[in-house]
Symmetry: D3
Subunit: 135 residues, 6 copies
Amino acid sequence: MYTVCVRDHMMIAHSFSGAVFGPAQQLHGATYVVDVEFRRPELDENGIVVDIGLAATALHEVLAALNYRNLDAHTEFSGQNTTTEFLARAIFERLAQAIREGRLGPSAAAITTLRVTLHESHVAWAAFEGGISAQ
Amino acid sequence: MYTVCVRDHMMIAHSFSGAVFGPAQQLHGATYVVDVEFRRPELDENGIVVDIGLAATALHEVLAALNYRNLDAHTEFSGQNTTTEFLARAIFERLAQAIREGRLGPSAAAITTLRVTLHESHVAWAAFEGGISAQ
Amino acid sequence: MYTVCVRDHMMIAHSFSGAVFGPAQQLHGATYVVDVEFRRPELDENGIVVDIGLAATALHEVLAALNYRNLDAHTEFSGQNTTTEFLARAIFERLAQAIREGRLGPSAAAITTLRVTLHESHVAWAAFEGGISAQ
Amino acid sequence: MYTVCVRDHMMIAHSFSGAVFGPAQQLHGATYVVDVEFRRPELDENGIVVDIGLAATALHEVLAALNYRNLDAHTEFSGQNTTTEFLARAIFERLAQAIREGRLGPSAAAITTLRVTLHESHVAWAAFEGGISAQ
Amino acid sequence: MYTVCVRDHMMIAHSFSGAVFGPAQQLHGATYVVDVEFRRPELDENGIVVDIGLAATALHEVLAALNYRNLDAHTEFSGQNTTTEFLARAIFERLAQAIREGRLGPSAAAITTLRVTLHESHVAWAAFEGGISAQ
Amino acid sequence: MYTVCVRDHMMIAHSFSGAVFGPAQQLHGATYVVDVEFRRPELDENGIVVDIGLAATALHEVLAALNYRNLDAHTEFSGQNTTTEFLARAIFERLAQAIREGRLGPSAAAITTLRVTLHESHVAWAAFEGGISAQ
């Protein structure tokens, strides 16, 4: 299995609901350094997993819709805790959709799985991994 | 599949038996930067994989029992080479036990696998990964 | 010259005023991984620059007063952009005060300079460095 | 499952064919920081996954055959784009062969899978992972 | 003293002349992860060292003139070994010129020193640091 | 000012004397990832700060004399706490001596300062920096 990974980041504000979150129930924020891994069993005719330029652009666009925002005011996430693991899934879904729509090029149709990792500090990160056809 | 990872470290002395270890047969030591990944297929009702505060505390307690010690004098490891990969398994077993005992909270019962990685330098690391019910 | 550095982090929300900040004028947030370097020309009688336990505790306390907060609502910073470089100076001042008050132990009186670095992402950081008697 | 990883690097020149590569069609170069993960389900009688000295030597030898070279002039890669993912596979095959030939010691025969990761910058990497008997 | 640092990278081919370089006399290449530190004694009225957007753009433009190229064919470097330390100085000069030309904004005129660091692998880097008025 | 840095590591056991060290008074150990920075105001005729091959070899030899050892049994350090900052100075002295003896080549005579940094974990490091003629 081949993997290619690209990295970008976003800086957001949010708060959490639930005693389990302790002081993180207050409005605070995070830098998320985001790694996206694209996987497929064979390379395409150019010898690549994905057009890394298109991949980086797609990731940047997905993050731009969240970057420099207060996620508590983001209607799509209404009523949900935008935890690191939740956001990893949310970014996964947007990138899977971009692949299905052909925005990473026709060769990207052979990508079988994605893994999205959000590094929130030097001591914690979270990830979501799934098949590309997952909805 | 969702993953959450927390990081801590310990600083220990030990020596190894067997010609394969060369100069590491002498008493020496290591800093192990320890990453523990918790995995489960769905998030709990708070939108999390694990209570990250409880997870960090459990890891810190497991490492505290080894930290600042000479593992050659640790009776539990008598007759065994406390290699990086061996220690990854030992820490895995202690954390799996903590989960089974409910010390990471009731929601942690849904965690299916753990991966423990010990970074021993900028050029080497080892890991053990297994199902949570493994003994 | 000897240096000892300790690392911790904080996760805050804030917004900036001024066209130069572009989208960062919106409420957003950041994880700051904070490195504090303590410097002195000679070691003390124990062979150390600073009691690293006291140093880590002092840093943690300084960060705890800001961590998990919206800095826009922090009265001490009223009317100021809490940029990364500004916060580096703010943390520097609190730690310099802690040293002058003896909270890092009597030997820490020989520390001559501090450097505080805040890493805000994998591609940007800021720092403030100054003499310990600076007000 | 146990994993041990060793790291080394190489510095090469190359160019790519195909419009998808944009400016990378020009002769340029890369530093590849190479991580090789060795995996097996049980440790050997010494408590290790692999003789880490032999593993590091085998990796260094594999990289030495490519290091400080223009891969466009490497006949073995004639007609192929030596992308990061392609090179991950090429290094995988050479290390799998080294294991099958016994160059990592007899105990290494129990290694079941290898993963080779090439870090090409702070924002991109690629990997190939496969079973050790794969040709 | 305040510092702000931004990071980018470039991927180039080159060769060196001189027995001291050993196998690096052959055509090979490197990824340089480039950190640029901007320093000044006081913040401007916005609370910043430099407009980080303009700084990142200026760095990207400087690197774009070298990225994906064979430096042996770069006439400006004719007759010189484009070592990591030499390139650090070359990038320093281009950024100092950008500041003097006002391309980082009027406030950047107060920047007193620059430091440019090129990371060439996980085990080696080089830097050049100088005053901004240096030619 | 130009800087070139090389990295290596060592793994040692030791213990400390003095209540300030708490549990580190017990026999324990550390991995030290060691960075050595060589500085000079002008490059030599080859365009380099130092022959990086000789620099890496000299560092490796200095570390080899300490690596895989219990520093408590090292007579040269008798009666001293081998703290991270103390060891940074000890390694500095050995490398300064190597330069003065010409072991880094004749061009290395122009090196004016050295900085030795020992990373002991992901959250702590220490350094010593001084002029090359310092005894």
